[in-house]
């Protein structure tokens, strides 16, 4: 394996560079996926039938908590990657742990929110509005859940093997994924929740 010392660790081998480009393209596909889900939501969000409408359903408090948690986690993972570039394994792992804990907090709040919805008689089967809402939120939440386990796997590898071109590459790609989930959330926050509460 040829290691180019002039580049950051995560870019230092040919294989690493290929993987990063590949992941960017994958994120392109993810954008297409979430765009489709948004399009479905915007098509169906007025179709609430006999069930509750967006105005009746949405509460600002859990949504604000989720937003703050996820946005902060996006910041902390940025700090984690910065620490990684400085070669600070311990600091990097600390920031990753904080990120994942914030992610768990986000998930906990979202699950609480879903349970609340169900209590108010809005299940995924109630109307096209709730189907599309819960599918959009659920897909994002499933991504965060997957990200949590992925992040744990990477943390274990960094702890065991240290900061190698391979683990650095994985951590960097994971950070791209995490930022992407944050971007999707910003759209959900603005165009699903805020718009729905107006």
């Amino acid at each position: 394996m040829k290691i180019d010392e002039s580049l950051p660790l995560e870019y230092s081998t040919e294989e690493n560079r290929l993987k990063i480009l590949g992941f960017w393209i994958f994120l392109g596909a993810e954008i297409a996926l979430f765009s489709t889900l948004f399009a479905v939501y915007f098509t169906l969000h007025n179709g609430h039938g006999d069930g509750p409408s967006a105005e009746e359903l949405f509460k600002i408090t859990p949504v604000m908590i989720e937003t703050v948690l996820l946005l902060t986690s996006s910041f902390t993972i940025g700090l984690g990657i910065h620490a990684m570039r400085l070669g600070l394994k311990k600091a990097m792992m600390t920031f990753f742990v904080i990120t994942l804990v914030l992610g768990l907090g986000f998930l906990g709040t979202e699950i609480y929110e879903f349970v609340e919805y169900i209590h108010e008689g809005a299940t995924i089967q109630t109307s096209a509005f709730t189907s599309s809402l819960m599918t959009l939120l659920g897909t994002h939440g499933a991504h965060v859940t997957f990200g949590f386990f992925w992040g744990v796997a990477i943390l274990i590898q960094v702890a065991k093997r240290g900061l190698t071109p391979e683990t650095a590459n994985k951590s960097f790609i994971f950070s791209l994924y995490w930022h992407f989930l944050d971007v999707v959330w910003i759209f959900i926050f603005s165009f699903v929740y805020l718009k729905g509460m107006m």
Partner: protein
């Protein structure tokens, strides 16, 4: 609702029982044969676990050929049923299932994998690379596609085939109107195969963007590689739409959501939109690589460089962009108003412009060329006029107001067969003949190849031209029978005879394969056609590392100029070569996908969850695995090169 009663094994239809018995007998004899000849180890080491792009390509093409047979039998049954008025070969339900599986199989399990197979074999060689960017992922792609194919194909014996058409429109495809598991199979098997296709898209984009030989700028890439690059961009942005559409279909059918429902705010037309937002780009996913194949073949056998290289590239980019903004032309008559219809009508007709540019470029490449009429060239030459008929009738259908007259008739069926068969099928057969010697080291027999060509081309026109007339006379598509007084009988009979001729043509093609494996003289040069691009610069069959030394590219058609001007493609000594390790994990993980998919079809939740967890276990294992590949030593490379008849 007696006929809709859910059955696990389909036992009330003699034809299906016959197929079931022959599948069991075939599988058993295959199993016994492999065991008797002690080939399990060979299969596992050389094929199932392989990450070699050439072998993966060959497996794709093998599956595609089997699916061509399956889809072809479906077609013969349909044409047989409609050959005479009030024929009793198939009943309405069976006919519905067969036109559905014919469409799905031919597009997604025949055309796509054939294209992806050729893409796998050829692209890395054309750009002078040793493999794709992510060889392991490539194997995952193939096996996901293979289990998707398997899952779709077992539907007709276990549980019943989908019967709502290949476009599976709601509300027809909803649980209410399609209560069997058929459409669950549709959604889940396409989902699994689609995941593999998306991975292929990412893989080849990175390969082409990052792994070209030194000196090969984008505008020095062979036209086939260009077409693959653009195709994969379409794949990456179109397939996620299908992923969502199929997931919503599964949820509507199995979890009671209301996306496409007729009440509670649902919207059945949303399905049609989502389906065609993917479906129309999909058409270009199978046609653009075909354009690439024709470009290579025409310029090789006209002994000229491709006319209008830049305009070829620009027109493909234009087609790929337009492909995303024409989807509503698939349902002009479903009531979205004059304005929308006009816009989509215009964008649709615009596609004819870049396509026309390409047709003229091919004609001008032929102009004053020294044409040799080989089998691949014959298919390419036949493609131009036949495809033009398909294109012109496409423009007729693009006119929204006129479309009200002949939409959903056999005219449409004739149109899309006139674009897809000369467009895609002729192209993959031509590419198959063209690149066969590269992979196996000998050419297919030309005499048999040409015989098959004439059978296929003539029979194709006999089979499908009558459908234009039948459509204009008012025969709608997907009609399982008709009365004698309609007068549709004679032309349908003619069409049936054409279909039989097509079948004979394909049998000759397969016989040619058998004959050539046994008797065809072996080629020693690696360049049997005197061709132009880099894949012909290495040995045939290609050694597993493709190139002993990575070529240095200075021109478009680098190999051609190297031959003509005696310029060396290589310099410097042979170095050790880094190669990826084989792995059985993609195969095993795809097995878990199959299990999860099959159980999900029947809503067996607990096993579905267990298999899904198994999928994630495989992903975790992969994450913790440390696999850095291995090196082939200089001595080993030199030995292989000597054995293959001298260093290249």
């Amino acid at each position: 609702m007696e006929s809709h009663e859910q059955q696990f094994l389909i036992l009330n239809e003699p034809m299906i029982v016959g197929a079931m018995i022959s599948i069991v007998v075939g599988a058993l004899s295959l199993f016994i044969g492999i065991t008797y000849f002690k080939k399990w180890g060979y299969l596992w080491r050389e094929w199932i676990t392989t990450v070699d792009h050439k072998k993966i390509g060959v497996m794709y093409i093998l599956v595609a050929l089997v699916m061509l047979f399956r889809g072809g039998v479906d077609a013969l049954l349909m044409r047989g049923q409609t050959a005479m008025p009030e024929n009793g070969l198939l009943d309405a339900q069976h006919y519905n299932e067969i036109f559905t599986t014919h469409g799905v199989i031919m597009i997604l399990f025949m055309a796509m994998p054939f294209i992806i197979g050729l893409m796998n074999v050829v692209t890395p060689l054309q750009i002078g690379a040793r493999d794709v960017a992510f060889p392991r992922l490539n194997s995952v792609s193939f096996w996901l596609f293979a289990v998707g194919t398997g899952l779709f194909n077992i539907s007709f014996i276990i549980g019943g085939s989908p019967d709502a058409g290949w476009s599976a429109y709601f509300p027809l495809a909803s649980l209410e109107f399609s209560p069997t598991v058929g459409n669950n199979y549709y959604a889940i098997s396409l989902q699994i195969a689609g995941l593999g296709t998306l991975a292929t898209g990412i893989n080849f984009l990175v390969t082409i963007l990052k792994m070209r030989a030194p000196g090969m700028t984008l505008m020095k890439m062979p036209m086939f590689t260009w077409s693959i690059l653009i195709t994969n961009v379409i794949i990456v942005f179109a397939f996620p739409v299908l992923t969502v559409a199929l997931a919503l279909m599964t949820m509507d059918r199995q979890f009671g959501t209301k996306f496409f429902a007729m009440q509670d705010g649902g919207m059945d037309m949303l399905w049609a939109n989502l389906f065609w937002v993917w479906g129309h780009p999909e058409v270009y996913i199978v046609i653009l690589p075909a354009f690439g194949i024709y470009s290579e073949i025409i310029s090789t056998f006209a002994r000229k460089n491709l006319y209008g290289y830049k305009s070829m590239v620009i027109s493909m980019v234009a087609i790929s962009l337009l492909s995303f903004v024409v989807w509503a032309h698939h349902f002009y008559t479903m009531g979205h108003g004059v304005m929308v219809n006009s816009v989509f009508s215009i964008t649709t007709m615009l596609i004819a412009v870049p396509t026309g540019v390409k047709i003229f470029n091919w004609l001008l490449t032929l102009h004053k060329g020294k044409i040799s009429f080989t089998t691949p060239m014959l298919y390419s030459l036949a493609f131009i006029p036949i495809f033009t008929i398909g294109g012109v009738t496409g423009v007729m259908l693009a006119m929204a107001s006129a479309d009200y007259q002949y939409h959903n008739t056999m005219f449409l069926v004739a149109h899309f067969h006139y674009v897809l068969i000369p467009g895609t099928v002729f192209a993959v057969i031509a590419g198959f003949h063209f690149w066969f010697p590269k992979v196996f080291g000998f050419r297919l027999n030309e005499k048999l190849g040409k015989l098959a060509f004439w059978f296929i081309t003539i029979s194709f026109n006999v089979a499908f031209f009558p459908l234009f007339i039948l459509g204009l006379n008012g025969m709608t598509r997907r009609m399982y029978t008709y009365s004698e007084s309609t007068g549709y009988g004679p032309l349908n009979m003619l069409s049936f005879l054409g279909a039989v001729g097509l079948g004979i043509g394909f049998i000759i093609l397969v016989y040619n394969l058998y004959w050539s494996i046994r008797y065809s003289p072996r080629d020693e040069t690696g360049d049997p056609w005197d061709a132009r691009s880099l894949e012909w610069a290495t040995h045939g069959p290609v050694p597993f590392y493709n190139f002993a030394r990575i070529p240095q590219v200075n021109d478009l058609d680098a190999f051609w100029y190297a031959k003509k001007h005696n310029k060396p493609l290589w310099s410097g000594p042979i170095e050790k070569i880094h190669m990826p390790n084989n792995s059985g994990m993609p195969f095993l993980m795809s097995g878990a996908f199959f299990g999860a998919g099959f159980c999900l079809v029947f809503s067996w939740w607990i096993p579905t969850i267990i298999f899904t967890i198994l999928i994630f276990v495989f992903m975790a294992l992969r994450s913790f695995e440390q696999d850095h590949g291995y090196y082939v030593s200089v001595e080993e490379v030199e030995r292989i090169e000597r054995e293959l008849g001298g260093e290249k």
